[in-house]
Symmetry: C7
Subunit: 96 residues, 7 copies
């Protein structure tokens, strides 16, 4: 398969571990060069976060396993970019 | 025909294979240099994704066949760019 | 006349040929360096697309003839840029 | 007077000549380096277009005469920029 | 006083002289390197324009006098920038 | 304390001195390299302005004293940036 | 854990110390290269501020302790970025 260069996932996680530790652990996964986690929403039990992974050849299964290892669940895969570089999806004149 | 350099398609796909595998396979199609798939909407059965392909001379038929091979259907072709380079469509002062 | 460097037209076209072939043929017109076609709207019969042509000295008549040759009709000319370079139309503080 | 480097005018023009010819002629006016015409609105009789002229020292009177020569009328001057370079008007934190 | 590098004023002016001449004269004021005038609104009597002046050390009084000399009145000073360079006011995450 | 590199304050000031003189004086405060004042709102008595100060090591107390010296009052401190450089606050995918 | 390069937190703080001193102290925390604090909202008792920290390997616990030392409380961690560089979270075509 063409190398996975960006993976954006919507994740539900408990409040613990805190987001900085959660992302710190995900950043240690072998294929991950950089990871950014943004809090979308939170309630008493869980946090809904969007996580952007970047790397030369991301291993989605290992990443998903790591998310689960630290108590999270991948709710959906929101974006993936594969190949020689990351092709940006652009808003066309039709998009609002 | 002038070489196809960007192809943006609206695709309906089943939940399996997951988006990262789906795009990984599409990224292996001969003429594809980079492919980005963005989840637009999903329900219990299907995912609606927008897929942006870039390359020097994309082969649209082979790409469409690969989408179908992995269970997807091209709902519409949203944008194409052909020629020596990609001419960006710009919002004019008339567009919202 | 000053050379035409960008031509943006609003076109109605039938579903066939598909957008990639339609733009591929338009990209072969002598004066066209690059062409981008964006789907604005579609219904059962026709597709409304916005097409951006760029080149050093575009020949609008030949382009319009090619659009018609492949089943389309130019609904309106939305933007043209002529001269030594393309002067971008900018939103002033008055525009929304 | 300080040299006029950008002139943006709101013009009403008949459907003929078409926008590409209209702008092509305006682009031949002596002081004009580049001209971009964007269709704002049209009805059965006329087209409302916004035209951006750029040059080192634009001659507004000659430009206005050329607009009229090809059937158009300048409805308003929307922006002018004079001096050593074009100072961009910027949205301040107060503007929407 | 620290040198004034950008001055943005809200001006009411009669229809005559036209905006290009009005700005052309303002561009001749000693300290002005560039001036951009944008039409905000107009009615039968007057035009409301926003004028952006840029220079190394703008003389606000002389500029205001020149505005009045050519029939305009400064309604408000909307932005000023002084010092070694122009510090851009940025929308913070709080601004809409 | 880490050096203060940007200070954005919300200020109420009387109509006199005018904004260009007001900012000109603030630009003379020792630690200020650049100052931009933007009019947010005005009524018969006062002007509400947002002032952005930039420098290598701004002295907030001296700046606040200068604002008061020329008749203004600091209504709130809206943003500060300290350290080796200015870290821009970015809208995350959660912000509107 | 992968090095923490950006930390964005939502903080409630009393009016004293003022925001410039508060951020100045946070900027002195060992791992912090730059810190920007933006006022989101304020009422009689407290200020709600968003604070962006950047550095090569931020120490979140020490930072949180410093926030508390100067009277603030971390309400939520809004964004973290870890790894070799900061991967920007991008609005996809799905986001408003």
């Amino acid at each position: 398969m063409a190398p996975l260069r960006r993976l954006v996932v919507d994740v539900l996680k408990p409040h613990s571990p805190p987001l900085d530790e959660f992302a710190g652990h995900l950043g240690e996964v072998e294929s991950v060069a950089a990871v950014t986690a943004t809090l979308i929403e939170l309630d008493k039990e869980v946090q809904n976060v969007e996580i952007t992974f970047e790397g030369q050849d991301l291993d989605a299964d290992t990443i998903e396993a790591a998310v689960e290892e630290f108590g999270g669940t991948v709710h959906s895969i929101d974006q993936v970019a594969c190949g020689e570089y990351v092709a940006e999806d652009r808003r066309t004149v039709r998009d609002p």
